[in-house]
């Protein structure tokens, strides 16, 4: 419909929509749709095209090289293959299977390398050869920095009976790591060591406990050592941090390999790398210990399943570590958050705004617009200068402004001149929109930006739209009736509306499952709803009918959000990916894959160039719409993330989770800059005031809390230097930042919205129980 009506638009998008993305959509779709079925294979199953190269999750699991930076990523697997082949050959030879050796060698075209290897192995003196091998082994284990002082390390004393230590190393990747009956011994050994080190290192090294514990346990389960697994669990589960309790609960029940097969999250845990951040000193300590004790099994697990991100500087304190950990995949690798993010706002289009001087009333009294002088709006002038941090205006193709959009912008600017300046001394008034008699279960709420409409998604599959103003909702007349209208008349827009259909609310029927997300388009012409039935639907607010059903997730879609410029929208669901759509494409433009569990909430950045997603895996990812890369990866929440909000200037992000905490993030530097504690239940709603001075959070605990976000941001000194370590000391100042706490009687807060004049609207379903 849109294309037919607006041929110009079609060409516009054809020209600008990123062609590589659209070139093979079918292929992409197939890959993604198959993904859940392939999960038990060890291979990377996420669609490659869009997954970020730097993500630790999509990292090549077959590669054993921790040290290989992206530069060598291409070469590493090849070398790995060769090593494996050589190891197999050696194994065959030792077992006197010469025929097989010949065949394999022939088929693999391995003559030269193999020869050189064997020459190297046999020709070299024992001491020298071992040293070299040890070095190569170490280099695989050692850290990213080239400056790692390898020379200071004592070489691993390799058992001299083996000429080719490679064999055991490589084969260990196929067999279980070491003897499972000894896992308890290994773990205890490491535990004793860590407990004996200095306090400053102990906190850092204690991070090893959880991933090692889980990997060992899963390894035991995977290799059918059920009783040993149980014993292992019982012995060491008590040592783990309390915020891993939920995971331990899941692990506890899992005792069979068959169980593992169905559990995608744990499979991912096995195949992906858990990231730890450890200071160099602590790391050296650990390495020295493991080498002295010949504790190769632990070492193997670390190198196989963990990624240790080493930073130079003071070891972190326990609280610092705790604030960042808790996610399913460990912490963030610093390099993941190194990418440049253009968080600045786009230049506002220059619109001639008729600015009436303060005397509105005088103008009305006289009945005609007085001095209708036009001048550039002050708001516009601010954004006239290109923000250095802003993306290029056309980095992402955006729809052109229609006349109605311009009118709306003018309205917006007018309203914003009447905006109340909020601050700690001047808190907003709160209006509560209570949904009464919502027996069918209110699951999602959204307001339009101008607060004129209100939409509710319900568990009974309906979407209801209310008018929040006295103006009633009207449908457009039917086609037959529209034919009778004088299309030249001035009030044609009024004439096309069917007065008979005027009502305060309209119901939209079409979904076949609870509606978990609703989002208005910025021009108020469309409404998106995402549902358990696996679809996202686009509704027209002119005809109150469904226009498109976007299919692709195939699993419950937990959230959807319109771009602030319209046209694009993002959705995320149980299939663990977020998708970027354009309203006129029935297939997604981007698939953002990387989360280890359900994508629970999705938001567009104010400049529409980025999308942020929160997940059940307790992480937050920021994705670049242009290339689909994950440019920011935030960890620190201890529960599924259910709410996200960008500050109006695009610089900061707030996230709320089931753990009742709000975390604040600096997007530019990729740092956590604040933790707001106070809520006692899941935070379902977050919103910054229009100027960003106040952050409002709404929770299941029936409260709305207001936080001094200005102070929270200003207190944080973040620059490129502090960003280098990837963490900054966080003050524990939640109580200072809390400006107010407001109770509803018995209504969980499901949505928050600041009107253009900074009145806070809260919404939720009254709960009579």
């Amino acid at each position: 419909i849109i294309r037919q009506k607006n041929p110009k638009k079609k060409t516009y998008y054809a020209a600008h929509v990123m062609t590589p993305l659209l070139s093979a959509p079918g292929e992409k779709m197939a890959a993604v749709q198959d993904a859940p079925m392939e999960l038990d294979s060890e291979k990377e199953t996420k669609p490659e095209i869009l997954s970020d190269g730097t993500s630790n999750l999509s990292g090549n699991t077959a590669s054993g090289t921790l040290s290989s930076p992206p530069l060598t990523a291409g070469g590493a697997p090849k070398q790995e293959d060769q090593q494996t082949l050589i190891a197999v050959l050696q194994f065959l030879r030792r077992n006197k299977l010469t025929e097989s050796v010949d065949i394999l060698r022939r088929e693999a075209c391995l003559e030269d390398q193999e020869d050189s290897q064997t020459l190297d192995g046999s020709g070299g003196g024992k001491g020298d050869g071992d040293g070299g091998d040890a070095n190569s082994l170490l280099s695989r284990v050692s850290i990213a920095s080239a400056a790692a002082p390898q020379s200071t390390l004592t070489p691993i004393p390799v058992k001299s009976e083996y000429d080719q230590p490679d064999v055991s190393v490589v084969l260990s990747a196929y067999s279980q790591q070491g003897d499972p009956s000894l896992y308890q011994v290994y773990y205890t050994g490491l535990k004793n060591f860590i407990e004996s080190v200095l306090d400053c290192h102990r906190a850092e090294l204690s991070q090893l406990f959880y991933p090692l514990f889980v990997h060992m346990y899963l390894e035991l389960v995977y290799n059918n050592h059920e009783t040993k697994a149980k014993a292992f669990f019982e012995k060491f589960s008590g040592d783990q941090e309390c915020y891993y309790q939920d995971d331990l609960q899941i692990l506890c029940g899992l005792t069979k390999k068959e169980h593992l097969k169905g559990n995608e999250a744990l499979l991912d845990f096995r195949t992906s790398r858990f990231v730890l951040r450890i200071s160099r000193d602590s790391y050296q300590l650990l390495k020295r210990h493991l080498q002295e004790r010949h504790n190769n099994q632990i070492w193997n697990i670390i190198q196989e399943h963990l990624y240790i991100d080493i930073f130079d500087g003071m070891p972190r304190s326990k609280s610092q570590i705790d604030s960042m950990s808790g996610s399913f995949a460990g912490e963030t690798r610093r390099e993941v958050n190194k990418a440049k993010v253009f968080y600045g706002l786009l230049k506002e289009p220059e619109i001639e705004v008729p600015l009436d001087d303060e005397d509105d009333e005088a103008e009305n009294e006289e009945g005609k617009p007085k001095k209708k002088k036009t001048k550039k709006d002050s708001m516009g002038s601010k954004s006239k200068k290109q923000d250095p941090n802003a993306p290029q205006q056309n980095r992402i193709p955006l729809p052109e402004l229609k006349d109605s959009d311009k009118l709306d912008k003018i309205m917006y600017m007018k309203e914003s001149t009447k905006r109340i300046r909020l601050g700690p001394e001047n808190l907003p008034s709160i209006c509560f929109y209570s949904f009464l008699n919502a027996y069918q279960g209110l699951t999602a709420v959204d307001f339009t930006d101008d607060s004129s409409l209100l939409a509710g998604g319900f568990a009974d599959s309906t979407v209801r739209v209310w008018s929040a103003t006295p103006k009633k909702l009207r449908k457009v007349k039917s086609a037959a009736e529209l034919n009778l209208i004088d299309k030249e008349s001035d009030d044609v827009l009024e004439r096309i509306m069917d007065e008979k259909t005027a009502s305060e609310s309209k119901n939209l029927y079409g979904h076949s499952g609870p509606v978990y997300g609703v989002s208005f388009s910025p021009d108020r012409n469309y409404l998106l709803s995402s549902s358990e039935d696996g679809t996202v639907r686009l509704w027209s607010l002119q005809t109150f009918t469904c226009l498109v059903g976007y299919k692709g997730h195939n699993y419950p879609v937990w959230d959807t959000h319109f771009s602030p410029f319209g046209y694009y929208f993002v959705s995320g669901g149980h299939d663990r990916v977020a998708r970027l759509w354009a309203t006129d494409h029935y297939q997604p433009l981007r698939i953002f894959a990387g989360h280890l569990a359900d994508v629970t909430c999705t938001r567009f950045h104010p400049n529409s160039n980025y999308v942020v997603t929160g997940s059940t895996d307790r992480t937050i990812r920021l994705w670049d719409v242009l290339n689909g890369n994950c440019v920011r990866f935030f960890t620190g929440h201890k529960g599924p993330i259910h709410s996200l909000a960008f500050s109006p200037n695009g610089k900061f992000l707030a996230s709320g989770s089931t753990d009742g905490r709000v975390l604040l993030w600096d997007i530019g530097h990729g740092l956590m800059i604040g933790e707001l504690k106070g809520h006692t239940d899941t935070i379902y709603a977050l919103k910054f005031s229009r100027d960003g001075e106040i952050l409002a959070s709404g929770s299941m605990d029936n409260t709305v809390r207001l936080w001094d976000s200005m102070k929270a941001f200003d207190d944080m000194e973040t620059d490129d230097f502090t960003a280098a370590t990837g963490h900054i000391p966080l003050p524990d100042n939640s109580q200072e930042l809390l400006l107010g706490m407001y109770h509803s009687k018995s209504t969980p807060v499901t949505h928050l919205h600041f009107t253009r004049r900074n009145l806070l609207l809260a919404a939720g379903a009254y709960n009579s129980q």
Binding site: I430, L436, H574, G740, T750
Partner: protein, 632 residues
């Protein structure tokens, strides 16, 4: 150390586990024999799958923004993991999970539902509350609550203007002065199918009984409003039943301000309210669990409270009477010995200052007598029926109920089943008993009961009880009784006369033949006829011409209205079984009142203040089967 290991074991056990015995049992029930090993494996797997499903389902709960995991959530999780969903647990109410003491068995109570009844039910609730959004300025400038949020009504309605108008007019008409308007309003309230939204408002109005306890008229009107609401087949009263019942109970039991003035006929009000209570209970009692029990408890409480005024006691007795003979047997009968002493003290006090109280005492006495009489009758009947097999034992019940509606402009008394109220209600008081001061109650045999009661009432009981036709024969069960009394005179009055039996125990019985045969004639319950000379009464009443109606009971004979103010005294005596009293002396004098010309046969009724009600008969209840409501 063993205890310690036991402790740790318990701690480690984080999950509920399905024992392998259960697995084996289930396999057996479907005809599969499982080895120990397989059962253990299966049990473990089942546990894991259950946990997995629960964990998955919690996600649906979180996204539905609820705190409570619902069956629906679990079903969704099952559906997405390609497992069959479980049906039949979608109800909103919590399913009671009960232990069975004997077998260490736990089960979900699953009551049988009569689908036919459900399908044919006509009172389908209409006009469910529409989901709506209400705005409330909660905090102004972040400070303070502008106005208290107050209680949000459970069903806030957007009342349309029409409804609002209707509401205003109806309430105005009912509470206003014009009896005709009131009648119309009540009729409409009784039949309007679109007033579901107004129900809370009406209930609220009715709960205002407490504020008008000085105004009998208003109380009466409010009770009529209750009646109309209860009779409206389109209304689903739901938990409002509780509120209505409490309003009605207020009228029955409270020492109303209006009763301070003896001229006010609050007795009638109480009778009516009691009738209404039983009607609500029999028709809507199933809406609120434990209602029967609660009502009985509060009635019992009043009855056993000697501080309460006699009018409250009267209310309790008529209330029990209205609830059925079982209630009387359960509550009134066991309390009678204790209560009797108090009542007797009142009745024995002949001082002038006590005159009013004594009159009230007579009321209570009469009420008890009537209640007890029916108790005996019904108990006897139930025994006979039990012996005969209850199938055909109640010939008149159904027709009785139907016929009643037809010719009753007022309240249609519910047909009272012989059995206890449905188990769904009564089971709470029988099985539960948790924290309820319910007394141990053992059924007393009929003869024992009769003896006991006879010791209190003496021959007045004998007169009333024993003179009827054989039980189970000509005397239909309670509800049909008035019907018979009404219908038969019309169709077979002579027949009735022929079959009328002579009283058996009365000594000076004198039955005058029916003279008018009017179908509007009241059944005649009075029982002041004396019996044996030793302990009784001398009623000096010449048989009058206007006094011919009798039915199954012998009636007292009174002087004609024009015979001047009559005065008589009599003693009703019983063997008081060692109780100090020798007999009951009733002494009454009348002041003449102008006879009612419209109802000559009833004129004398005003002057019979002895037992039962005193003042003018309530026309609305001419057809009531309660002897209490009949003018004596």
């Amino acid at each position: 150390s063993s205890s310690q290991s036991g402790m740790t074991e318990r701690e480690e056990r984080r999950f509920a586990e399905v024992p392998r015995e259960s697995i084996k049992l289930m396999a057996e029930s479907s005809g599969v024999e499982l080895s120990e090993e397989v059962a253990a494996l299966l049990a473990e797997d089942v546990c894991y799958r259950l946990r997995e499903a629960t964990q998955n389902s919690s996600q649906f709960m979180r996204h539905a923004k609820r705190r409570k995991l619902s069956v629906e959530d679990l079903n969704r999780a099952l559906r997405w993991s390609n497992t069959e969903t479980i049906c039949g647990y979608g109800a909103q109410d919590a399913l009671p999970f009960r232990p069975l003491k004997e077998g260490e068995l736990f089960f979900v109570e699953d009551r049988e539902i009569n689908l036919v009844e459900l399908a044919l039910a006509t009172n389908i609730p209409k006009g469910c509350a529409e989901t709506m959004v209400r705005v409330h300025v909660s905090y102004l400038d972040g400070k303070g609550n502008l106005e208290p949020q107050g209680t949000v009504p459970t069903a806030v309605q957007s009342l349309s203007e029409d409804l609002l108008k209707y509401y205003q007019q109806i309430t105005r008409a009912i509470l206003g002065e014009d009896p005709h308007l009131m009648k119309v309003a009540l009729l409409d309230l009784q039949s309007n199918s679109k007033i579901a939204a107004l129900l809370p408002y009406f209930v609220y109005v009715i709960s205002g009984v407490k504020s008008v306890s000085h105004d009998l008229d208003q109380l009466n009107r409010l009770l009529h409003m209750v009646k109309s609401l209860v009779q409206n087949p389109y209304l689903y009263l739901g938990s409002y039943v509780r509120s209505l019942v409490s309003s009605v109970m207020y009228c029955i039991l409270e020492p109303l301000a209006a009763s301070i003035n003896p001229l006010n006929d609050h007795w009638t009000l109480r009778d009516y309210a009691a009738l209404l209570l039983s009607h609500i209970f029999w028709t809507h009692g199933d809406l609120v669990s434990g209602l029967y029990h609660q009502i009985l408890l509060s009635l019992q409480k009043v009855l056993s409270d000697p501080v309460r005024p006699l009018c409250s006691h009267y209310g309790a007795v008529v209330g029990l009477h209205a609830l059925g003979w079982k209630a009387v047997e359960r509550v009134l009968y066991p309390h009678l010995p204790a209560y009797w002493a108090n009542l007797q003290a009142v009745l024995d006090d002949y001082s002038v200052s006590n005159a009013q109280v004594k009159a009230d005492g007579h009321k209570v006495y009469g009420a008890i007598l009537v209640a007890v009489e029916r108790l005996l009758k019904m108990k006897a009947l139930s025994l006979t029926l039990a012996a005969e097999g209850s199938g055909a034992g109640l010939p008149g019940t159904t027709t009785g109920a139907v016929g009643f509606r037809e010719n009753s402009p007022g309240l249609s008394p519910p047909s009272e089943p012989l059995s206890e109220p449905p188990l769904g209600i009564a089971s709470h008081l029988q099985a539960g008993g948790a924290g309820c001061p319910w007394e141990e109650w053992t059924p007393v045999s009929l003869p024992a009961m009769y003896c006991e009661l006879y010791s209190f009432f003496g021959d007045s009981l004998a007169v009333r009880f024993s003179t009827g036709p054989p039980l189970g024969g000509a005397t239909p069960p309670g509800p049909c009784q008035p019907l018979e009394g009404r219908k038969e005179p019309a169709s077979s009055a002579p027949n009735l006369e022929n079959t009328r039996k002579m009283p058996q125990l009365t000594a000076s019985m004198n039955i005058s033949p029916r003279q008018d045969g009017s179908p509007r004639m009241e059944p005649q319950p009075p029982s002041l006829a004396a019996t044996e000379t030793r302990k009784t009464c001398s009623v000096e009443v010449p048989p009058g011409p206007g006094l011919g109606t009798t039915d199954i009971f012998p009636k007292a004979r009174f002087p004609l209205p024009q015979a001047g103010p009559p005065a008589f005294s009599f003693i009703i005596g019983g063997r008081q079984m060692g109780r100090r009293c020798q007999g009951r002396r009733f002494q009454t004098s009348f002041t003449p009142t102008p006879p009612l010309t419209t109802h000559p046969p009833r004129a004398y009724a005003h002057k019979l203040p002895v037992i039962g009600r005193v003042s003018k008969p309530v026309r609305r209840w001419t057809c009531s089967h309660y002897s209490l409501h009949l003018p004596l």
